[in-house]
Symmetry: D3
Amino acid sequence: MRVLLINPNTSEAFTSKIQQIAEKYALPGTQVRTVNPKSGPRSIEGVYDELLSSVPTLEVALADMDCDALVVACYSDHPTIYALREITDKPVLGIAEASMHVACMVGNRFSIVTTNKEWEPLLRDAVRRYGMIERCSSVRSTGMPVLALESASQEDVYRAILSASRQAIETDAAEVICLGCAGMAGLDKRLEAELHIPVVDGVVAALKLLEALGGYGLKTSKLLTYARPKWKTLANLPQRLEQAYDPSSIPGKDAR
Amino acid sequence: MRVLLINPNTSEAFTSKIQQIAEKYALPGTQVRTVNPKSGPRSIEGVYDELLSSVPTLEVALADMDCDALVVACYSDHPTIYALREITDKPVLGIAEASMHVACMVGNRFSIVTTNKEWEPLLRDAVRRYGMIERCSSVRSTGMPVLALESASQEDVYRAILSASRQAIETDAAEVICLGCAGMAGLDKRLEAELHIPVVDGVVAALKLLEALGGYGLKTSKLLTYARPKWKTLANLPQRLEQAYDPSSIPGKDAR
Amino acid sequence: MRVLLINPNTSEAFTSKIQQIAEKYALPGTQVRTVNPKSGPRSIEGVYDELLSSVPTLEVALADMDCDALVVACYSDHPTIYALREITDKPVLGIAEASMHVACMVGNRFSIVTTNKEWEPLLRDAVRRYGMIERCSSVRSTGMPVLALESASQEDVYRAILSASRQAIETDAAEVICLGCAGMAGLDKRLEAELHIPVVDGVVAALKLLEALGGYGLKTSKLLTYARPKWKTLANLPQRLEQAYDPSSIPGKDAR
Amino acid sequence: MRVLLINPNTSEAFTSKIQQIAEKYALPGTQVRTVNPKSGPRSIEGVYDELLSSVPTLEVALADMDCDALVVACYSDHPTIYALREITDKPVLGIAEASMHVACMVGNRFSIVTTNKEWEPLLRDAVRRYGMIERCSSVRSTGMPVLALESASQEDVYRAILSASRQAIETDAAEVICLGCAGMAGLDKRLEAELHIPVVDGVVAALKLLEALGGYGLKTSKLLTYARPKWKTLANLPQRLEQAYDPSSIPGKDAR
Amino acid sequence: MRVLLINPNTSEAFTSKIQQIAEKYALPGTQVRTVNPKSGPRSIEGVYDELLSSVPTLEVALADMDCDALVVACYSDHPTIYALREITDKPVLGIAEASMHVACMVGNRFSIVTTNKEWEPLLRDAVRRYGMIERCSSVRSTGMPVLALESASQEDVYRAILSASRQAIETDAAEVICLGCAGMAGLDKRLEAELHIPVVDGVVAALKLLEALGGYGLKTSKLLTYARPKWKTLANLPQRLEQAYDPSSIPGKDAR
Amino acid sequence: MRVLLINPNTSEAFTSKIQQIAEKYALPGTQVRTVNPKSGPRSIEGVYDELLSSVPTLEVALADMDCDALVVACYSDHPTIYALREITDKPVLGIAEASMHVACMVGNRFSIVTTNKEWEPLLRDAVRRYGMIERCSSVRSTGMPVLALESASQEDVYRAILSASRQAIETDAAEVICLGCAGMAGLDKRLEAELHIPVVDGVVAALKLLEALGGYGLKTSKLLTYARPKWKTLANLPQRLEQAYDPSSIPGKDAR
């Protein structure tokens, strides 16, 4: 099974961290490949950044469709998740929703610990959209912006997440912690050892869930919500984007 | 007051229809200006199309920021609405949410009548996101795709909407009908005369609500959800898009 | 356009304040007229007071139906709003719901700051009824009863509202503040300048929204919820109240 | 224990029917007394009628406060229920909410069968307000207006309710039927025998629940929502209504 | 009327306390009988304990079916409540749901005060299941485990409940307190006198509500959710349990 | 990794079918072992049956705790799932919740197709409890009871499920079908080929999700909801059940 992980920002440091972690957890038969677009924002901290990253991310995906499943490795309700589900029936997961599904399997209520405060309402709205608001004890932030995860000392980052997690446990009755940024990848097991409750990294969660779907042979439903987009004229956009309207151009596509 | 209406698809026929209707309903002191991007899809029928239209729509908006309020004239939860709210404090409304607010003021429960069936779950999710699901009696579709609104006989389009509206009234207890596509603009008053309940066109709704906000002097809150995006490196994207990170580049901007 | 604002309590000081503010924000073509009943309670602080004010308010409205739209200027889910929608198809708005619609257009989540603590559950239930509970960050009170807004020093009133608003922002993540009492009218712009987020006065919100509905030519749906009341014997009640059962007696009424 | 049942409309036929049924089900130690106002509407079919009946109903209640518990015998979310809870700590129940509580004790989901179609949205909103929407399978109407319950043949009324109940069972999966009008009182046991599921009359439900509360010695909480109304000037209203602001004037009142 | 109260744990001290309280509040015509299984756990503090107590509780009930109504006297969503509703049409109430219904009749929002912290999420989920989450201000715990209610000084138990109740009132805006453990029975009136708001003991609530249902002649609906279990082979289980599949074996059973 | 699948009914035919399917989908490194209790009901068709099967199921589990993860192979919200989570930190999944998580990953809204009509409200309540009601388009039943899945011709069973699934697709807008009974295992891929949307068997879903959790090294949170049960006297119950109170007796247990 070949899983394509797409980091939708242009930070190659993040990309290689994600690749490393995915390799560590992949099954023997799983090939993981992490890519990022060459154009777009260096980090994603809101909807404007999401939109700047969307077409570059779609182009990267369309160029690399010879895979069996896709991960959008941004901890948000990134709209590219839905667009990818429209253009392929290969399973697609975002790391935020993946982490929440996993959290609901190992605890009753989970909290998300994210970076800057502005993500709190965005992630709360994502939880509601996924229909899991009753299972979410809180969304908390460390106050450290995304790119600080690269520049700050790893120890400081760890302490900030630990402290927000403790508040989630003590004040909000969290039973599981979801790490609310792809850049927090790799800290899960250390936090788990200290907090004594499960800590979920969305990158690993998405990879393992896609392996599960792959092992079962399930594909995205093409009825209604994720129906293939219908052909239409595209003006002044890269040629490759028309490929999405033509199922035969996507490798391994079934005929539906 | 200057209101900029952005048709995010490339159909100039739609653009001029929207301009015509906006002019008809604008207050004497309101200048309306409707634009559309030169690149992107000819119509928007799902999330993939939304994303292809997003950056071109943002570029058009950034080029024309010398206005007081903005309308995103696509009947959906188009992500550009949120991105625009991040980059400016001028009020921004999508025509879907505008029509729903207006519908709630003139009736208890409203139904949306849209084009093709695939829009039903997307619009239902939008209603939930706006928090108005308890006020929504149903989302129904005519089965006619967006572009058929250009090509089909106006009489056929009218009959299809009338028939779906009657089902919404009789089966779902709708008290108000929202026209679920910008391309249906101009049919509201004829439908109203035949259905004997209010029929809301989102383009007019958005224009009138923005005039109301403008008359009150209200601007978008920049706290939390719609905080201005923080500066970051953009790789290989049009220069103009960096403008969003720099408040001073946006005319009439306050300093927050 | 003629907008009738009804202050349902008997405080003429409140009435003239409302008239003043409405005049300030009305469009050139809008005539505003504020009235209050001659009988009933001096202030409205719960459901008992609401009910004492209801028939006097309806009588005042029925005596003054030669208008195009009506505002019920009490910050509550005052039942007279619904009764008026039954007896006329002229648009009717309460100032509480008007402020919430406006708040949702300029921010993601709003808090209401009201007078005495007893209003908190009543307003929370109103928010739920309007279907906007997911958009409401909190309802907070200043502890000052309604009539204190007349007698207390304006500075003290201002400070109390400012302080409750700050708690809503810091503790509840409010992005917009709604002023939860008609008697707070006139403080919005000063608070806005100090809080740096939008502050919404329901009187202005209702007036501007009704101008928007009027400009669009929309009337209240008479299907189902707001159907005209059917004729029945009224025993020992003022003659004028029978008028509500007779559409022809209401000026400017359409024939539905 | 003395239970005061108030029929808020002026139909003495309804009043004596309610008295009859209450007597039939009252415990040996319970004295029931049914009254109706001398002024107000002959039947209640919407919010306008509710408001016309409110002050007369409150006056009747205040004149007869020498009781232990009160029933508002109108199948709706009649605002007088809340006003009475404010002015006394004697338990007060409306017959709609009483029937729903009882229905939830003898089945998982209940349907309400009411009179004319306009009651459907009003009762649905009442169910939501009481927080029982998840337990309500549907609200259906017979199409017969309230007063037809007096004039139509009892057999026709029975058949209409039976038919709507069967639809609720077959189409909506109702497990219990609530009779949605005080005027349907007396038909419950015959319907139950034919439908083979519990049928709940709100008058009996309210009476029996108040006996239960009385037997336990519980009174309405005066904290927050139902706090006693604070004294204020009443202009041109019957003297008796001031009594509500003065706890000492209400017999058997505790000092809170 | 004969009411069977089943204490599903094996503590005879609890059983006799429940009997005492039930006798105190029973109507003259009501015979109460409290039993507990001879096998199973000494106290119930989670789902594992609930399941250990289930079959012994069902056996006790089946041995004593010559009654008119049943109470499951464990403050939880004990699954035996549902199993009993399946095997008989005699009304069955758990003390948790009974207390919540009663609380909703005497206040707008209630808090539950329970024993150890682990009950908080279990009871919150029960409230959601009953559909009353909008009416529940909070679930709080004293930190004292169930059996401490036997061993600790009554004064300490009282103080702990009083303190948690005060927090519920001040922080969560509770208007009514539900005592969240059968072992707290008997403390309600003393707490009520000190807190000045209603305090509800589920044992009394369930008894009085069943008397109300009995007085009305209502039985559990056998349609859908609580349909009688269909006959099937039971391997290696006590003979008596087969009785549940055979309506004729249950005294006083109707033929449905 | 060793996964223990427990069929909680006594049908060995079902048990060996489950084993067969689990073997087919297990990863090379996964050992699956399916067991069923020797005592209890032959099939599970409601809460009474669930409770009869609970202690026997727990005993089987406690006897076989030398595994890494557990499946409760009954398509319901079987309370044993929660009891097992309390007594071990090995991940535990029920097949109903597993199928719903998987369905949400491959489509927007899913329908459940179950056996007899009585399961409809029980499964609807389970969906609500899991917090996924917004993602569930409907619960439908074939009308064939569980044991008919053994006795009826496979072709008839297949046709009945196919027909109910088609109704879910056409009437309820289902995008994914969940097979609502363990006895339907093995029909998924044939249905998928005919319906052209994903069809999810809960047994496979649970197995693959547990492999995913195992591969990530996640265990059940022991904080709050699934805290280990505290020691207490068990009267007249099999000795083995005390083991649950003693972590050291459970193989591979961590020390929390």
